[in-house]
């Protein structure tokens, strides 16, 4: 294990029943960096995030976080590790029966014996960092999508984790919220000395904030590099993905029998 890397994914494979989703993936996340895992829908990038979070176990290979092999951890060890992680879910996953304040205070109340006055100050600091100190009394149902994501971000960093995992943080946001979330991911990472893994398919926003990118397609890493290298890449898959081209290595048409045969056209009509 390298002390430089906080997350190391070493020849990892994973299958749901008979369907192999990841096929021998190798990936490293250096400490203090923001690393993006990109790819189309269903390519296995969320599965990778779940492996890092210990929600599922790899069928082959090792996932190591801070030198600890995730597959070796029992429930208690896993929970100990997760206390040092934060996760931002695709749609926030805020607790709907609690106010914004209580959502951010939740982990502090569950995991620490801090006095309520100190929790209040800490929560206000976290909410201020995401610009929502004024919305502390709101319920999640009163928040816009972008605001909910920011509250979830404040909640994810509530206990100052070493690693933060982002599952599609840009999905379904308007351009302003998109910029705000992207900016916050970078700023919080640098200010709090975190390490971040961002799973996304949003090219423009993520290339602007991350240090390194891994491209996953059909369960394998097909390309990797810094944002600049990715932009200049002439690999067909990367080119198609970055420029949003309709056809390419990822075909527009799902595999199907010949069109003429499907329409039952006789020879000469096709």
């Amino acid at each position: 294990m390298s002390a430089e890397n906080l997350v190391e994914i070493d020849n990892v494979s994973f299958a749901y029943a008979q369907r192999e989703v990841l096929k021998g993936i190798n990936l490293n996340v250096p400490r203090g960096k923001v690393v993006a895992i990109m790819g189309g829908s269903g390519c296995g990038k969320t599965t990778l995030l779940r492996l890092i979070g210990g929600q599922i176990k790899s069928t082959k290979g090792e996932v190591r976080i801070d030198g600890q092999v995730m597959n070796d951890l029992d429930q208690e060890g896993l929970y100990r590790m997760r206390r040092r992680m934060g996760m931002l879910f695709q749609f926030g996953a805020l607790f709907t029966d609690m106010s914004v304040f209580d959502n951010v205070a939740f982990q502090m109340r569950e995991h620490t014996d801090l006095p309520e006055a100190l929790i209040r100050d800490l929560v206000l600091m976290k909410l201020d960092a995401v610009g929502l100190r004024g919305a502390r009394a709101f319920m999640p149902s009163e928040l816009s999508g972008g605001m909910a994501r920011r509250v979830a971000l404040a909640r994810a960093v509530a206990l100052d984790p070493m690693l933060i995992l982002y599952d599609e943080p840009f999905a379904g946001l308007d351009p302003i919220s998109l910029g705000v979330i992207g900016n916050l991911i970078r700023r919080l990472n640098d200010a709090l000395g975190l390490t971040s893994v961002v799973v996304t398919h949003d090219v423009r926003e993520s290339l602007a904030i991350v240090d390194y990118v891994y491209f996953v397609s059909e369960g394998v890493i097909v390309a990797q590099g810094t944002p600049d290298e990715i932009r200049k890449s002439d690999k067909p898959f990367v080119h198609q993905f970055v420029h949003g081209e309709m056809d390419g290595p990822v075909p527009f048409h799902y595999p199907a029998p010949a069109y003429a045969a499907a329409l039952r056209l006789k020879a000469g009509h096709a």
Binding site: G53, Q55, R82, M85, M87, A93, F95, T96, E110, H111
Partner: protein, 264 residues
């Protein structure tokens, strides 16, 4: 022919295996809920909050239903008893019917429909919106934090709701029998007092409602926790909660009645 028979056998086998697997899963879930109850008792506020949602908010439907059931019992009981000139036993009929059977059973059915379905829908939606996964990722066990407090709240609320249902029912019987029809008030209450036994009738009724509370809350929690995380999944789980809980209450009532009241 042979292939068809094999397919039928395999279908039956599949269903049996699936039912046994489900029963095992439900038992493990129940055991896990009991084992994870420490947090709930250390932080009693968690249970009290859930008692408000499952118990206090069910009070209106329980009290109103109890009143009407008691009033109907008063009317029907009077019609039958007057044929034999035993109108004065109306209080006994109303009280025994309610304390032994109708109180625990009808209150449990209402509890399953009102509180049980709400528990399933809430937990199912928490699962669908990744709130339970978020909790796990925060190193907080959702069974200890979400499931166990709701379980104990249901178990504590159910006997209290059944008692209130019975009390309201007796009051309804009194209103119809004594106030409306004119049955003698003294014999209504005194016969009731002498015929209803605390251990045989009241305690057995409380035991029944306690068992129903365990069954209804367990089913509601299990269905919610195991619901597929989609709109259809949650709606199907909610329906199953009401149907399964109602059937379980009626079946358990028969078993408990057979054990408690064997012609004694």
């Amino acid at each position: 022919m042979l292939r068809r028979s094999a397919a039928v056998l395999s279908g039956i086998g599949g269903r049996v295996v699936s039912a046994v697997w489900r029963l095992g899963y439900a038992s493990r879930f129940f055991a896990l809920t009991l084992l994870s109850s420490g947090t709930s008792f250390r932080r009693i506020g968690l249970i009290i909050k859930e008692i408000y949602f499952t118990g206090v908010l069910s009070l209106i439907i329980i009290l109103v239903s109890g009143l009407f059931v008691g009033m109907v019992l008063g009317l029907q009981g009077y019609e039958t008893l007057q044929t034999y000139g035993s109108e004065s036993a109306l209080g006994v009929l109303v009280a025994l019917s309610l304390v032994r059977e109708l109180g625990p059973v009808v209150a449990a059915l209402l509890f399953a429909s009102r509180a049980g379905s709400a528990i399933t829908a809430e937990i199912g939606l928490m699962k669908a919106t990744e709130q339970l996964t978020a909790m796990e990722m925060m190193a907080i066990d959702p069974i200890a934090r979400v499931v166990a407090p709701r379980f104990w709240a249901g178990v504590i609320s159910m006997p209290l709701l059944a008692a209130m249902f019975s009390a309201m029912g007796v009051f309804g019987g009194y209103l119809v029998g004594v106030v409306l029809i004119g049955v003698d008030e003294g014999s209504f209450w005194s016969q009731m007092q002498s015929a209803v036994d605390v251990k045989e009738d009241v305690l057995n009724g409380v035991i029944k409602s306690f068992v129903f509370g365990i069954a209804c809350t367990w089913i509601a929690l299990l269905e919610g926790y195991d619901a597929p995380p989609t709109a259809e999944g949650v709606s199907g789980a909610t329906t199953r909660t009401v149907v399964t809980s109602s059937l379980a209450v009626l079946a358990l009532d028969f078993v408990l009645t057979a054990l408690m009241f064997r012609g004694a």
